[in-house]
Amino acid sequence: MALTAEKVAQPFNSSTEPNHAPVETEFPVPYLGRTVKIVGPHVNVDMNQSPHPKNSRGELGKPLFNWYRNTVSQDPLTRVSAPNHFADRRNFLVNVINRSSNGKVNPRTVTVDDPAAMARHIKTVALYMGADVVGIAKVHPSFLYAAGGGRYVQDGTAKDEYQSNSPEELVRRFPYIIQAATAWDYNKLQAHRHHIGDAAYHVSQMKGVMVLKALEGYIKELGYTALRGVVTPQAAGVAGGIGELGRNGLVINKNFGARVHMPDPILTDLPLVADEPVDIGVEDFCKICRKCANTCPTNSIPFGDKVVFNGIEKYKINWLTCYKLRPYVHEHWGSCLTCAAVCPFTKPNVWWHNLATWALHTCPYAARPALVHALKWIDDKFWGVTRTNRVRWLGYDSGIKPGDQACTVAGCTASHEGKASSVSGDMGYYAPLKENTNRFVKRDG
């Protein structure tokens, strides 16, 4: 495979030096599965340079700044479930949870004689609280945000006494990452680029934030430290066996595909046993499929090979073009989700889907391309190249063109003045974004 050195990693300040030889000796380069490799010097990500913080400082231009900071959604459900588009932040649960004061670590520590039993317990606890997938990763300095970059929990704070510690110091003290993920509702995701798809995405986010906060509190009650806002979720997800990194930049899980929400993971000193990265065939599938790249409205997903970016070999999406679409569509939806919805791995968590991922997992590498071609043909045939289903849910109807008014609720006798009486057909309305963006966004490859 041809690799392109897209970026030569440079340290941006003295506290975030690349992993030199002595560090590599103490912290061997971890195996992250077949989809991601650490191949060179890596500079820890500075959260202040990530999309949302940059945007909140106004560095991405006025339209994006106003969309992020000054836009109240027209949809009531979006106002209570989506970050930053609420009318009153007190109605937004994630804000309430993330801004709550942190509890103290219980001085009466529960002794852990068998880390494997504790690992099983903590996974059971997370699932009992509502998580859909749980993974435990052995931490490596490259998984952490840069020291001095600031802890990051969206809509909240993660300040604690370890704030100034370097990634290496944190790794020496806190060896494990717990990642609990929640899955989006599959049926609602079919109406992505609509408030119905937003509901699938945002409600799972709220649930995931609540589960992780409850898990953080429980670890403190066990007498151990739980740090938030420290770990890159994607790295934790891949290292902890939640899934593999796809071409679309999303962690793809064997049961849920790309429809998993992985909020801020927990870094802890609780004695555990780490999981291993998994192989479910994402590496082989993404080489051939390219469905996400073909359907991305902003051409933000590469068609070409992996690149080496900041010492990591992976598919590199263009987050800025993905981000820049948002102010222009916010009246109709909050989250695009096209790349997640069309991914062939994104299916209901049922036996026939799990059989397909099992077949990929057990298939010899040499035979996988043929199997991938067959599975992709089936996916195109039965689910289509794009999602066009019409979804109705609680008065929402994806068949109504954004901006049009219509009541399609069966049996409704309320007078809706100025609304069309009915909308026919089984097709959802999907704005022809691809055709429009092709005029001014240059594709690569």
Partner: protein, 193 residues
Amino acid sequence: MASQLGPLKFPWFGKESHKNDPYWDFFINMPPADLANTVTEMIRKAPDGNVFPTRAELHTPEITSSHVKGMAEYFGAELVGIAKLPSNASQAETYPFGIICVVHADYDPRTALGIGGQVPVQNGLFITFVLSAWIRELGFRAGTAPEPDADKLAAAAGLGTLNGEGRLVTAKFGANVHIADVIRTDLPLAADG
């Protein structure tokens, strides 16, 4: 679209499956040393947000009720009922309707005081917080509070019957249920029962 056959579920895999977990009893029964470590405390302490100034256009009360129930079920409620609340002249604010959400509880939250034993309460608070916030964003008043007569209201809403101890017994879960805080609202609804 291909049929979505769900996974097989075996009802006898319940709390007994945790018998080999040495920490399970701590999780279920040990009261937290610091309440600030619990999500239940965080949500209970949170003040209600404002009512959105513009009221959303509603369908008929029956359809609005079905949407409220569908939304609650999407947030995780196992059973949802709507009861007509008695008008109480002594209270400054009266609400015509109460929304009762019920979640499954493996352990009774009144006796299982650990973080695990309180998971049904946590799930109930998640549902009632988001649902009441959504109703306020629709432009109607909605507030939650623990209700001493929640079992009676749930029975009145047709969610089950009361046993000798005055506790709700449902057809699906028996008495293994937790009734979440009742949402009081002036959203035009149609009462059950």
